[in-house]
Symmetry: C2
């Protein structure tokens, strides 16, 4: 007998019918002999309904009170699911974040979990009850209600799984796993049975929006096996865990991100501290920078290129023009119509030649690479936006990721 | 500078506009220099919305989980009101029942308050904040969420006023005070400036449904001055407090109750224990009995009459037929089309002759009295339902209760 932590997102509990279906699913696992802790989000639409009320009263609602308001969304779901489980003869107890002392810092609206008092949950499990916990919420040291920010329910589930040494943390969502590429772009994309935490972090941050990055980081830190499953269709989903002893596939997936824009400062006098003098003012304006590339140019000057979120493009451009003048740089250019295509896989570490195979595949399709950035398990290239799908498909084929690959 | 506890019911906070109006009202009191603790109910309709969801999943929802669900209604209101107060420059903090440790027994859905930890509230008041507390809810000794049952928000407000030694507990509702009679029946009915707790208890239980009986009992026990006010129109409302030193009006009001039915067991052999043998089975069936009258009849028999809620009439009749047979009683009769008309007032205690004046006034109108019951501050008569309004009006006039009286 083991302990399973299951997390159901907003669409999985979006209606009373869906809640009843989740209750059946939980009861089925319970009847196989495993203990179950269930973490639920607010019913889909509910958080937005509450937010609209708050913003009608005040465009910038008091953060403490906003968390008191939003945390009711999950509280409604835990009660309804527990009522449903009880009615199906499956003993259940619901708990708010405060009731199981999910202790957080006091950063309202985006709090971080510091610890969980799991005694009460363990007592209930020992009595044969299913424990239903509200995701997304906690309390600070003074008992003030906090929320973890959007997607925080995943983090709640992982934190509970870690605290209770669960065998597995199952994240039920509206997709049935992690794919080698976006199936809408690459019809032959294949569901991955297993990926490592590192791969999942790269896949998530690059647009495969299945899991919150924070939850994956948390799972990696405490070595909690995570499984992404669909709550709408049966299947084994994708297991996210440490590297298996068996041989891993070379490459796990190809992702694409169209949310970024590229900015370049040309002809910057090449002196120490240039990067900081350029990016410092950008960071000060709360603009997050993703890829950064610096090339040595001619005549003791350098070209400095980085990407930002597309919505920050105009603001970043204004700042750069100011900075470029101060630095005596030649010119500032930028491009919004770019896409970042990335190849992700742990095996990249030990296999040379993958990068050149990737660049060759793109060249064969006539796709010009505008920027390159590499990490241990990822190679990203920036290309013109119009080549995004073509790039993804050509790489998917080149590396044999398809269902017939 | 004094402390005022204000309670706003569901219709008073039924929309975002109403919540904004309440915030203005609270801020106005605050600006006059008084400290304010506000207790709020769920927005009108919200508790029913939640209840319907629960009952869709299970006709008899688990009581513990139902309280987890229903308590979110008030939590939404405290957050919205606090957001609104903050946006108007009035510092505010919201608290759920659990957060200010409104400790109750563990009778889910109808819990009773055992104590309140008021330190946190006092700390906030000392910092100049308005404290907004969720009505209707608390926690048991294990931290389980409980609710006080319908109307429990009044009790929360009175309990807080008692714990904090507030100068006054103001109950804002949709009527502007307590009247000498139902203004829909008696157009010249007059708002009372002041009544005693005892009078209010009689008035409330007899159909002037302004305040919950439990809240009035609580206020009397801890000697908390209660004021009933309208949140929709200005006015001083009605103060409910201990008897003033000044002379009280003889009679405070006339009420009418149409919710009851009358049952009679005729010709019961008059032996000790008859009342218990008749009412015992009725009580066992969870049927509440209101008026009870027993007359000594002829030939060593007695007639036994009592009233029950009209919805319990059929069930009570069935039980009585069985009981009557066992007791050797002659006959069981009943009447559903009755009304109970009552005259309430503390001064009745020291003024003889009020009862006979009351009976005479009814006789003058040709109204036959079917049953009489008296207490220290109340005289109730049962009459045919068709005479209800006429009875109320004639007594209102007889005792000079009108605005020109």
């Amino acid at each position: 007998m083991a302990l399973i932590v299951q997390k159901y997102g907003g669409t999985s509990v979006g209606t009373l019918e869906r809640i009843a279906a989740v209750a059946d699913e939980v009861r089925a696992v319970r009847e196989l002999g495993d203990d179950v802790v269930v973490v639920v989000s607010a019913m889909s639409g509910e958080t937005n309904r509450l937010l609209v009320m708050a913003k009608t009263l005040d465009r910038h609602p008091n953060p403490r009170e906003l968390d008191v308001l939003l945390s009711t969304g999950e509280q409604v779901t835990i009660a309804l699911l527990s009522i449903c489980l009880e009615s199906k003869g499956c003993p259940a107890r619901s708990y708010t974040g405060g009731q199981v002392h999910i202790r957080t810092d006091n950063a309202y609206n985006k709090a971080r979990i510091l610890g969980i008092d799991h005694r009460r949950v363990e007592e209930d499990l020992a009595k044969g009850r299913v424990v239903v916990v509200a995701g997304f919420q906690g309390v600070d040291e003074h008992g003030n209600i906090t929320t973890l920010g959007r997607g925080g329910s995943d983090t709640t589930a992982v934190a509970l799984a870690a605290a209770l040494s669960a065998r597995e943390c199952q994240i039920f969502t509206d997709v049935d796993g992690v794919y080698t590429a976006d199936p809408r772009v690459v019809p032959e994309a294949r569901r991955l049975d297993r990926v490592t935490y590192e791969e999942m972090l790269e896949l998530a941050s690059l647009g495969a929006k299945v899991l919150q990055i924070r939850a994956v980081e948390f799972a990696r830190k405490y070595n909690v096996p995570l499984r992404v499953l669909s709550s709408f269709q049966p299947g084994k989903g994708t297991l996210i865990a440490e590297e298996a002893a068996m041989e891993q596939p070379l490459i796990s997936g190809v992702t694409c991100n169209r949310d970024e824009a590229k900015l370049t400062v040309l002809g910057v006098p090449d002196r120490p501290g240039i990067a900081h003098r350029i990016l410092g003012p950008v960071a000060k304006a709360n603009i997050e920078v993703d890829m950064i590339v610096q090339n040595v140019g001619e005549d003791g000057t350098t070209d400095f290129t980085f990407t930002v979120n597309r919505s920050d493009y105009e603001a970043a451009l204004e700042i750069l023009k100011q900075v470029a003048g101060d630095l005596g740089a030649r010119e500032v250019t930028g491009d919004r119509r770019i896409a970042k295509v990335s190849l992700v896989g742990v095996a990249m570490r030990s296999h040379a030649g993958i990068a050149s195979r990737m660049f060759e595949a793109l060249a064969t399709e006539g796709i010009n690479i505008r920027m390159i950035s590499t990490s241990e398990i990822k190679i990203s290239v920036v290309v013109d936006e119009k080549y995004a799908e073509l790039g993804v498909r050509s790489l998917h084929t080149e590396f044999g990721l398809g269902q017939n690959g």
